[in-house]
Subunit: 346 residues, 2 copies
């Protein structure tokens, strides 16, 4: 079966062409790859000149600037792929600065032998994700490494956005009494990738939550909510996000475990794999710190799936801790995992 | 012997510590790496908050935005290393847009087992290069891939700069009669890396030309030269740069071979390796297209080593070609290499 996306590829895929060292050499083969893969997918006015860099119109306001490399394996998984991840990951980092994402760069490190079909599928997915998030890929770079010195495809994206709010969004703005909001259920991205990698079949199909977050964040800001801090729940999951903000703000926090939504399938998979759902990576989930009095408004703006999961406490005499109260009434203290639970999940 | 740079490393290097998978997991090990390697090296006000992205003051003017991944092997070579290359490469791409480079991002893809010493040395080199070029590394990311699925260290940098000139710099502005200037001798970077990689000893020590180009470019612009086009001579060297601009501008060009400076050692090495100096990569060389009447001024601003190497001809009836006239009075037509002459040179 030839998939639809493959039919549209300007390089015929019948003979299963692969990436060669020459595609990274800066000569005709490089240009061929640019003209037949990257330009057709990313086409836009700012990309077209193919100069050393993109020239962008003036941006009125503070800028947000961020970067992320994506090395997830396998590159295709239920609910997403390396391409959608590479776009949404950077879009989301910009959104967490309170910025409106505008432009992305895309740097590809390809391993000799990568099927062109896979590259095309990833690049098309990036283009679709960029369109969905309302950003443009305006500049890029491709390098090829010899077989055995890479892993198919790595993508780096950097992003530029404009900060239109006058709020200072970050841990320094978190205040005692702030409500902690979460925009949906957690753990699906990490489990979806692990399932694909290990060939596991769970009772229910678990699909990555990979999604752009600029929509919900700008809904909060445009809706007039006094957002204090935002953080997406990627590597280290909810655990890392809460602990890092607690430590940076030097304020203790508490979370009601039963308010944190976890799909039954994710919970079951975590038990089998010996994982803690709070620490599993997400790619479409974030927490927002807002004044308690604005929590209702914020929930309404975030829509279904969002919940208040906890609150910030006044400073104490000891280093700040994040306490999780279980449905049984007991409580535990969140601890940052030392290394990583799931390697190469994003 | 313990080198000076190693003594300053906040992680003791005596037991030759290496990068572990956990350094990429987003937990305590990741934070340790950030706090002991990246922050001490790159320290600046904008980087400090360690948020998802950097928040930058408004920039008055058009922006330039560019990205490049660096996969050169070996990572240390005479005259530079992967770190200086990663900074200068992106600084130079911004300079080629006529921009003043301001901010860089740094994305690291590390292979499990990389000596921390090598990482520290590369990061320190990046910091030195950033200081020399007057740019700040304001945001970053680190991923770790399992042993055998990377190659020690890959670095992506993206850059943001401000365009203060009102000129439109690019192939579309090239005009018949324009002089083509080159800022120094060519071929040293590619040969220096090849020598290191292959363990070759050439008669003379050949050192990479790796250097930031924002200084000379801004000297031209601030000096009032009407710069039409700029291009740095990286992958594909002078050959690719001339052919690409000729094709984009749809104008033929000619170059006087004897005006293009090549060190004797580079020429000899190229003969041994079967390479053409015009097509070897550089990391501190660029060509500038300026009106013939401003060539003298431009040469003076570029300083010693710079030369007028050719000119743009009026359009003809045929596709534009770049002709090289040799010292013997013969002429040849430049042709873009198909794949690459030297893999992983930048």
């Amino acid at each position: 079966m030839i998939e639809d996306f493959a039919l549209q590829c300007p390089i015929p895929l019948d003979d299963n062409p692969t990436v060669q060292m020459g595609h990274g050499g800066g000569g005709r083969m490089t240009r061929d790859l640019i003209e037949k893969i990257f330009l057709p997918a990313f086409t836009n006015d700012l990309l077209a000149p193919l100069h050393d860099g993109a020239i962008l119109p003036p941006v009125g306001g503070r800028l947000a600037f961020t970067t992320d490399s994506f090395v997830v394996r396998p590159i295709f998984f239920r609910g997403g792929d390396l391409g959608s991840l590479a776009v949404n990951g950077t879009v989301n980092d910009l959104a967490m600065c309170g910025a409106r994402p505008l432009y992305l760069s895309a740097g590809f490190i390809l391993e000799e032998g990568l099927p062109i079909k896979d590259l095309w599928r990833v690049v098309r997915s990036m283009a679709d994700a960029a369109a969905a998030a309302g950003v443009r890929v305006v500049t890029g770079d491709t390098k090829v490494v010899d077989k055995g010195h890479g892993d198919g495809i790595f993508i780096n994206t950097a992003g530029v956005g404009v900060i239109e709010t006058r709020l200072t969004i970050g841990p320094m703005s978190v205040r005692p009494g702030d409500a902690i909001l979460l925009n949906g259920d957690i753990g699906r991205h990490g489990i979806a990738v692990m399932a694909e990698r290990e060939g596991l079949e769970f009772e229910s199909d678990i699909s990555s939550d990979c999604a752009p977050l600029n929509g919900p964040v700008l809904a909060l800001l445009d809706g007039g909510v006094e957002v204090h801090c935002l953080r997406d729940l990627t590597r280290g999951g909810l655990t890392s996000a809460l602990i890092e903000i607690s430590e940076s703000a030097n304020l203790p926090m508490r979370v009601e475990e039963e308010t944190v939504s976890v799909q039954d399938g994710v919970r079951g998979a975590c038990e089998i794999l010996g994982l803690e759902p709070f620490s599993v990576a997400n790619e479409g989930r974030f927490i927002a710190f807002v004044p308690a009095g604005e929590a209702e408004t914020a929930l309404r703006l975030l829509g279904s799936g969002a919940a208040v999961i906890g609150a910030v406490d006044p400073p104490g005499n000891q280093p700040p801790l994040v306490r999780v109260r279980t449905s049984l009434g007991t409580s535990r203290i969140l601890d940052l995992p030392s290394g990583e639970q799931l390697p190469r999940i994003c």
